[in-house]
């Protein structure tokens, strides 16, 4: 075989390998997107795997076999979740039932608040303000709350499904993730193999830091908020703290969104100025701990995105996938940033 024919043959083999790699990747992504509950289960699986992977490695370093390290870690983690669930779920369901029972009074209280605002607006703008804001808001709120409580059983069913599937995916990610990745990487053509391996390694490290740091941050913010709300004797403290912890995952606007339900409850309950001040203080302390301690020590390694990029990415995430989109849009954008940066560095720094 002549040198030119051999080169052509090599190029063809490389093209086929690359096509096989991307076809497999496309097929996997399509499966995750199309199959019901698989996207959220896979995301939860990734989060659990990144969280428990270092613990499994720790046991392995002590001489325990990987399978046993994984089984033992997942058993302890599962037991902790069950114990926490036994404690949290009754409180959560009591809080939800309480919220459902008190919803009409909250809506009427909110209507009164809107009415007083409406009266003030009419006093300011006179005939210019002709809209019946109170009726419009009350109608929307009643419909919205009814739909929220109607969706709870379906949501719980979906949650249970995800809670089973997520850890199942995570278990195999921790146990066999490297093997699967190596098989996928085997399809990469020789001339770009080292770049692909290095890229995968860097992305893995970045996402690992990101997930662990953000979860720790959300957990501490949630715990501080819960403790603070309990101390000042605010209702639905656990529910509000979980909401604050979840929304804290959304940068910049997340903490503000987390404050809205507590503020609404306080306003509807006609809380005094002192009570309002205490409520603000609780959220402020949680945010000060976050900004002053957690971000510099734990989150500093996270890929920083420009505030404008963050806002655009969050809006895009919200448009495509709602609240979930708002939370996952940032890690996705960060991964994309790391990929582009690493690929660019490898391509420009190599004297090809």
């Amino acid at each position: 075989m002549s040198l030119a024919t051999r080169q052509l043959h090599l190029k063809r083999i490389n093209r086929v390998r690359l096509m096989a790699f991307f076809t497999l990747l496309f097929f996997l992504i399509a499966c995750v997107l199309v199959v019901e509950n698989l996207l959220i289960s896979t995301l939860i699986g990734f989060v659990i795997a990144y969280l428990l992977g270092p613990i499994v490695n720790h046991f392995e370093r002590r001489g325990v076999d990987r399978l046993w390290s994984t089984l033992w870690t997942f058993f302890v983690f599962g037991s902790l979740i069950i114990v926490a669930g036994v404690f949290i779920f009754p409180n959560l369901s009591t809080a939800l039932v309480g919220l459902q029972q008190e919803t009409p009074s909250y809506i009427s209280g909110f209507s009164k608040l809107i009415s007083s605002l409406e009266t003030q607006a009419r006093g300011l703008f006179g005939s210019w303000f002709s809209m019946d804001l109170n009726e419009w808001v009350e109608e929307r709120l009643t419909l919205g709350m009814a739909s929220f409580f109607n969706h709870i059983p379906g949501f719980i069913k979906q949650l249970l499904m995800v809670m089973l599937l997520g850890p199942f995916i995570a278990f195999f990610m921790v146990k066999d993730g490297r093997k699967i990745l190596r098989q996928l990487l085997a399809l990469i053509p020789n001339h770009i193999f080292e770049t692909a391996l290095s890229l995968q390694h860097q992305i893995n490290i970045q996402i690992g830091y990101f997930v662990r740091a953000r979860l720790l941050e959300a957990g501490i913010v949630g715990a501080v908020t819960w403790a603070g709300l309990m101390i000042i004797g605010f209702p639905f403290s656990l529910l509000l703290a979980i909401f604050a912890a979840i929304t804290n995952l959304i940068p910049y606007i997340g903490p503000l969104i987390g404050l809205i339900p507590a503020l609404t409850i306080a306003l509807v309950n006609s809380s005094s100025n002192f009570e309002l001040l205490l409520l603000f203080l609780v959220y402020l302390i949680a945010q000060l701990i976050d900004a002053g301690l957690l971000i510099p020590f734990f989150v500093a390694r996270i890929v920083n995105l420009h505030p404008l990029t963050v806002i655009i990415v969050i809006i895009a995430g919200a448009q495509f996938m709602g609240v979930l989109g708002m939370i996952i849009s940032i890690p996705l954008a960060s991964t994309l940033k790391v990929t582009v940066e690493t690929l660019y560095r490898h391509l420009t720094e190599s004297r090809l």
């Binding site: 370093r61 020789n190 193999f193 290095s198 390694h201």
Partner: protein, 181 residues
């Protein structure tokens, strides 16, 4: 009756794994590892197949690890730039069990100092920085043994280079003194 190739194919994977472990055991860098440690390394490395004439890496490229020749032949070339033109000179031919590119395993943002080319159908064991990091993370004692051996190899190469430089300096001195005389 079952065709003999059926059985060959059925046991090929196992035999390939054995070949890999055997090759690792015979490589200086992994010589001190026990059976269990070699098993871990064999689960971490990447076996790559190269066609005759296929480039393994080129001089100046960013490298992330080393290769061990499992089967086949690899030729090493160095590109030198003269005033008129760029020329490629042959440095070495490596065969089964030989290893190359180990500097990239340790050095950060390492660039390949030579080019490597498969001269026949070649199987290589690739052992890269992410693999070494994984071993250090999962079994630090195994990782430590590997790093120590890589350091020994690099030290030996440094000694050889220093001694070669001394020889060249002496030769230059003799050459200059003859020129002056």
């Amino acid at each position: 009756m079952m065709h003999p190739s059926f059985w060959t194919n059925l046991f090929r994977k196992d035999s390939k794994e054995k070949d890999v472990i055997e090759a690792l055991r015979n490589t200086y860098i992994f010589e001190t590892l026990n059976k269990r440690e070699l098993q871990l390394v064999s689960q971490t490395i990447h076996v790559r197949e190269y066609a005759p004439g296929e480039s393994i890496f080129s001089q100046g490229e960013l490298g992330v690890g080393m290769y061990i020749v499992l089967k086949g032949k690899v030729q090493i070339f160095v590109r030198t730039q003269t005033a008129e033109e760029e020329e490629s000179s042959f440095v070495a031919s490596l065969g089964d069990g030989d290893f190359f590119g180990e500097i990239s395993l340790i050095e950060n943002n390492s660039r390949r100092t030579a080019s490597a080319l498969a001269s026949v159908e070649t199987s290589l064991i690739g052992f890269f920085k992410p693999d070494l990091m994984e071993i250090l993370d999962r079994q630090p004692s195994t990782g430590g043994k590997i790093v120590l051996r890589v350091a020994e190899v690099l030290g030996r190469r440094l000694k050889e280079t220093t001694s070669r430089i001394s020889e060249l300096k002496d030769e230059l001195k003799v050459h200059n003194s003859r020129g002056l005389a």
